[in-house]
Symmetry: C2
Subunit: 314 residues, 2 copies
Amino acid sequence: MYIDAIAHYLPETTLPNEYYARLTGLTDEWIYGRSGIRTRTRARPDENTHTMAVEAVKAAMGRLPYPLKEVDLIVGATYTPYDTVATIAHAVQSNFTIPGARAILVSSACSSFLNAVEVVEGYFATNKSRKALVVISEHNSAYSDDRDEQAGHLWGDGAAAVFISKDGHGEKGLEILDINTSGLGHVGKSLEAVHLRPNNGGLVMPHGRDIFVNATKFMVTEVETLLARNHIALEDITYLIPHQANMRIITHVTQTLGMRDSQVIVNIEDAGNTGSASTAIALSQNWERFVEGDLIAVTVFGGGYSSGGMLLKK
Amino acid sequence: MYIDAIAHYLPETTLPNEYYARLTGLTDEWIYGRSGIRTRTRARPDENTHTMAVEAVKAAMGRLPYPLKEVDLIVGATYTPYDTVATIAHAVQSNFTIPGARAILVSSACSSFLNAVEVVEGYFATNKSRKALVVISEHNSAYSDDRDEQAGHLWGDGAAAVFISKDGHGEKGLEILDINTSGLGHVGKSLEAVHLRPNNGGLVMPHGRDIFVNATKFMVTEVETLLARNHIALEDITYLIPHQANMRIITHVTQTLGMRDSQVIVNIEDAGNTGSASTAIALSQNWERFVEGDLIAVTVFGGGYSSGGMLLKK
């Protein structure tokens, strides 16, 4: 299967570390040193996961090699929903009038993008879909607290729209060579380390250390799994797109794998942790950079826990 | 594919119409006449979608024809999450230590059970799974308002655990002959008719009439689609299990299809609208009733909108 087109939406407003420093007493230096974040995106009061999902799809319109109405499956992904009944998949189906599409939401927290792609793979295998739209939208600031010293300063908002077809259309796409996801609910402080309980305190991260230990472990494992089962050497990977949770996690994963910093695609410094949208946004931001033969590995880790990996080829 | 085992959990407490009558000025007669509900289940303060999901799986333990650890895919379904990061799939994986399973949450509101089964079908088609657990858990009362005259009295709480395998195991299962889902985000007042916005008023249903019109239409269509593509006559269907949103919707669907009341499996009178868990709970409650050759049609409609149908054979 193929990614035919991709686009993203990031809110215009970005908040600098100084904003959080004023609220929490932390310093710019401390925040940047611990997270790698200088600014993070912040949705306007009238924005939410629905509106950002719609903006991401709008941004893709000129790039799509077939009419949007040919999409027969819309898979939304978010853990920060504006509405849990009318999902972002339904919001997109409604806004663009796409009558012939199945519509579902998928979530495994920050792994959701890859779980959504794996769900698409299943629909392609049953021939119930040939052209899917995965729309990922995170409104972390709707549930996080800027005064939270542990994690309030980490979160960015944003969305991406990823058009995936079974057969490949257009000239600019990437082939999805392989996709894997893993459920890790049985690992470490899975259910407590980072959680979003809408009725109980929102989005918090009480066990950052447990996340660091497991994210660095499983994001590496996912890449190694992809390489092994596709008989590809690490040296053949052109770029790595890791989940943008924390620069220290990204650096640790990069070093463990033995990749060069220049191979690693990063947007956390400007956007913050945009949740499950982060790797899709990074892929969109770098779409024009890929050249024939490039191999791109995406690796993610999500609260709960989950992990996932995807291998792409230009 | 086959449902090998099923179980459900309903909280002990049920609330009678008189409870709502005292809060809203509505009468028992009015509530029953409009909804078909006499009592609805209510989770304890220490219960939530996680705990109810775990209870449903516990209830299935003696019935499962293979060790729980052989489950390789856990698909959760809910629109009333306790935690959107650590999903009910992860809670089950954690509680029962099921290391080899993928874990994801799926939602299309009250259609979620059937969307989850369709996602399982896809994982079976790619051979990434052979034994799946679909766990559906709804905690409507966490997000609804008992004083809401329009819909506060409709909602029940409950969960179900459905073990589905590609090959079929044990002697007591049902074969899933066919499964279909439809995204209806483009239809009627899809995004507004019923919605759950955790930060904006919770679970409300401002457009019940629009839901009635579309639910009665599409729940019929889903059954007709299943019959047509499986070359089965309506007369061959033994039982119908419709989504338990409202007895008037169920009666309308039954009459339009031309089925007898005795063929229709209902639990709304006692349990209320238990959301996406309702048909799975009804299937579990009637599991021992099915005999060789029985054909069972499940049809659902969800906010957003979505619809779905599933054809089962004993």
